[in-house]
Assembly symmetry: C2
Homo-oligomer: 270 residues x 2
């Protein structure tokens, strides 16, 4: 049996840089595919076209919600260099563009110097001591947990307030990312990890609806060692009806494996 994530990001080359990349069911929030999942689908096609091993930096802009169903990603190699290949990719469904991306693909070896890492690994209890991201009591109109059914995510005990309707007041959410079916987290699935946690807005202002991502960038900085990925997400500038969410991801050996940032729309606070 293939792992769920591999099935959900499978592709078939159609020639001329086009790939059939169906959007699978139950990788959604409220019926629309998770933004990190969409990025993983498109980046997988871009990576195939690049002929290189890993996504190094990928940026996606979201154009329309992506319900489960057919999908086609059209890619174009913008530059094929010695070290990196730069590729563009656009996912469409029934002729409508869902999301568009730019990315660079190549080898990643975090042991190459110079080395200077000054960001502290997040202070978080072991995986087993962090509560699972349970399906929260779903208020009327709130999203069902399609994506959550695929993942084994744990939330830092200090950051679970949002799920009880007791937001911590701080735009911070820490936890662990892993797949429920035991699939190892590789560089492609880090793109999903970077958008899978509850929006940190939920802990800052209380839980409310839809906070659509406008732009999402992930830098993959290491190939993860086996085990869950420790993640910290935060936002420092909520203003102008927008907010950024910064992500930091570490593997089980304490190596930084990804940095992410997205810009999203803020809901109106009543």
């Amino acid at each position: 049996m293939p792992f769920e994530f591999d099935e959900a990001t499978s592709l078939a080359a159609l020639g001329d840089g086009a790939y059939a990349t169906p959007i699978h069911d139950r990788w959604d929030i409220n019926g629309n595919a998770n933004g990190g999942y969409l990025l993983a689908i498109v980046a997988n096609a871009m990576r195939a076209e690049s002929g290189r091993a890993h996504p190094v930096s990928v940026t996606m802009h979201y154009l329309s919600p992506g319900p489960a169903g057919d999908g086609m990603t059209t890619t174009k190699v913008m530059k094929s260099g010695k070290r990196f290949v730069t590729v563009s990719g656009t996912l469409a469904q029934g002729g409508r563009d869902i999301a568009t991306a730019l990315g660079v693909f190549g080898d990643i070896d975090s042991s190459i110097g110079p080395q200077s890492v000054t960001v502290d690994r997040i202070d978080i209890p072991p995986f087993e001591e962090c509560p699972p991201r349970a399906a929260p009591p779903v208020p009327e109109g709130a999203p069902p947990m399609g994506l959550g059914s695929r993942l084994d995510m744990r939330i830092h005990p200090d950051d679970t307030g949002f799920a009880r309707g007791e937001p911590t007041g701080e735009a911070l959410c820490r936890g662990y990312f892993s797949f429920r079916d035991g699939r190892p987290v590789d560089t492609l699935s880090l793109l999903l990890a970077a958008d899978a946690f509850p929006p940190v807005m939920f802990n800052r202002f209380g839980m409310f609806g839809w906070v659509p991502t406008v732009e999402f960038t992930v830098h993959v900085r290491g190939v993860p060692a086996p085990g869950p990925i420790a993640c910290a997400f935060s936002s420092r500038v909520i203003q102008g009806g927008m907010w950024e969410e910064d992500g930091e991801m570490w593997d089980s050996e304490g190596q930084v494996v990804a940095l992410s940032r997205q810009l999203a729309l803020a809901p109106k606070v009543s």
Copy 2:
């Protein structure tokens, strides 16, 4: 007399989303146009095509060095929404692609809530008390200061070590950005500000050559009030032959006006 930056980012519509966007002289480092300047050129064409006022989030991937000369930016509107217009743009010179970008354009009003800004404005002396970024003693093979001749940049007195060959050891550079000819800093020129400072690598490991940007994203979060822009750049994860540089920019009224991040190649440390 028009301001230099306006002249250097001028464009002429050629129809079908194409714009003549020449690359002007003396916005370069070592003969190749500064990455922030290239982003400003391309974003200006993308903005024109969008019909909207401001760049909100723009990402550029760099493909080839861009010497001064002709240039043509080909843009395509990917989505025209009520709030934002998403546009792609690629700058070519003599048939060779120099850089490619994705961006979203629209209105920016930082006073719209919800409001929660937890990043502290940088601790920096007033503009007049910070030394100008002087043309440093240029070691053999080091870049001449084309870009510097256009700008009035000041460096935090504690962060000038790199220029004396006495790096501070910290991947941090703070200072002020303004134009020498008094042009106000608007949302377009924030894209230049975000890439105009000396690479923070110079303060971490000493001054050495070329640290080419692979990917560069700027989020514009406010329309600047008049006056110099206070900036802080830092890097936390230098590994794998790559490093990220994060930028924070404030206007004279203490408002966050932009956040930036780039991924760049690290030189080999001898």
